[in-house]
Amino acid sequence: MRAAVMRKEPSSMPAPIDPIVEVRGISKSYGSTEALRGIDLDFPRGKLTSLLGPSGCGKTTLLKIIAGLIKANAGSIAVDGKVVTAPGPERAFVFQDFALMPWATALRNVAFGLELRGKARAEREEIARHYIAEVGLAGFEDKYPHQLSGGMRQRVGLARALSVDADVLLLDEPFSAVDEQNRRKFQEDLIRLRSNQNKTFIFVTHSIEEAVYISDRIVLLSPRPGRVSQIIEPEIDRSGDPDLIHRDKHYLDTVQEIWQGLKQYAE
């Protein structure tokens, strides 16, 4: 690939400054299907990195391996220098289908991570209320998931991940089950959230526009078996009006370049 925006080949990539998550030689097969082959990746601290690729490239599998929800056949994951093999309090997951408990209110859903850690009720509900307000759901604390729209449910999922105060947030296509206008709003909110939460985001998506819009760094995966094909760091200023990003020349160029690279996998 001769893309102009391409910054670094993974093989010749110098170690980025201060990686918080280090992926080393991860391979995963389901029976005879090879989902991931020899993935080596570093995720820089405090950045939002997207895993982008066509379906079948193993991006969700890789995210779940990082989360400790799926065991890899080979390789290791280190968070903050420590090798991890199971879920841990330094990582929090946001699910594609929200994974909310339908029998619990938004408040209890958000506080559930803290409930599992044995935090006292008053304390965890106070924290939950704070993050419910943070994601723009104040006033909906006592609503049940089925009383909320798709976008609002995912806000609950995001607030739950924020409330456990993990360093790394793992988001698995969080907006794919949310309708278009809510997705746009949500993406803007995520940009705002990132700038005031000092956290590392790892974000799986199949949308090129979404990846370029929100990411500091985009890891392109190629399918069958999933491998890292390219790493892109779009240099987009996100400090101003988020609507301007969609007209930013660099944004448009990067979307175009990634599309040129991914076109070959389109059916």
Binding site: P87, P102, W103, E115, Y144, H146
Partner: protein, 250 residues
Amino acid sequence: MTLFGYRVPMMASLLVWCVLWEIVGRLDLVFLLPPLSEVLSAAVGLVQTPSWQSATVTTLRAFFTGMVLSIVIGVPLGILMGRVKIADDLLGMWVNIFSSAPLSALVPVLMILFGFGERTIVAAVFLFAIWIIVLDTRAGVRHISPSLIEMARSYGASRRALYLKIILWAALPEILAGIRLGLIRGVKGVVIGQLLVAIVGYGALFETFSRNFRMAEFWALTIILFAFALLIAELIERAEAKVEYYAGAR
């Protein structure tokens, strides 16, 4: 239902059948069927007899003991089968056979095992009720969205918390449906058990009434039993309606 443009309330059809029963009874066509009014007055008389009262206590005690046992054993067994493939492979066949088998045929065997007493009746209730509870619980556990389990794991749920805070609740609508169906089967179990043992509770009363052709009392007892079965099914259905708000939203 509407009739000639008027809305007819639900219970109206029941009223039609009651009137029909009364008429057929009055015509004195078959001695097996006394008029409904006679049956109802027999019912009023019946509930005042000490023999009915002690039979009711015995029957209820056996019924509830059997039901508690089948719920306490059936729900965990269903959860185990829903979660552990080996358990499902080992037990699935037997649960399916027993849930559709003519269990009445097994009650005499229970009599050999447990003797001519209340223990046989409890065993009969258990045998009738447990299988549907196991099957429905298993189905409920199977239906739990995998991401809900992953959510609990990723937020550090212990095995105990996973079962008590997620799996039990997520499967609750199906568990309650299983218990409701189990209760109805349990009523069948208690009656068939008592009829076959014939010296305990309602079985003894049924036996006495039918042997002596006391048909009004026989039907009165039948109606009481039906009413009881419908009442507890209704109570469970109320509980189900309470969890429906999330069952429908899954």
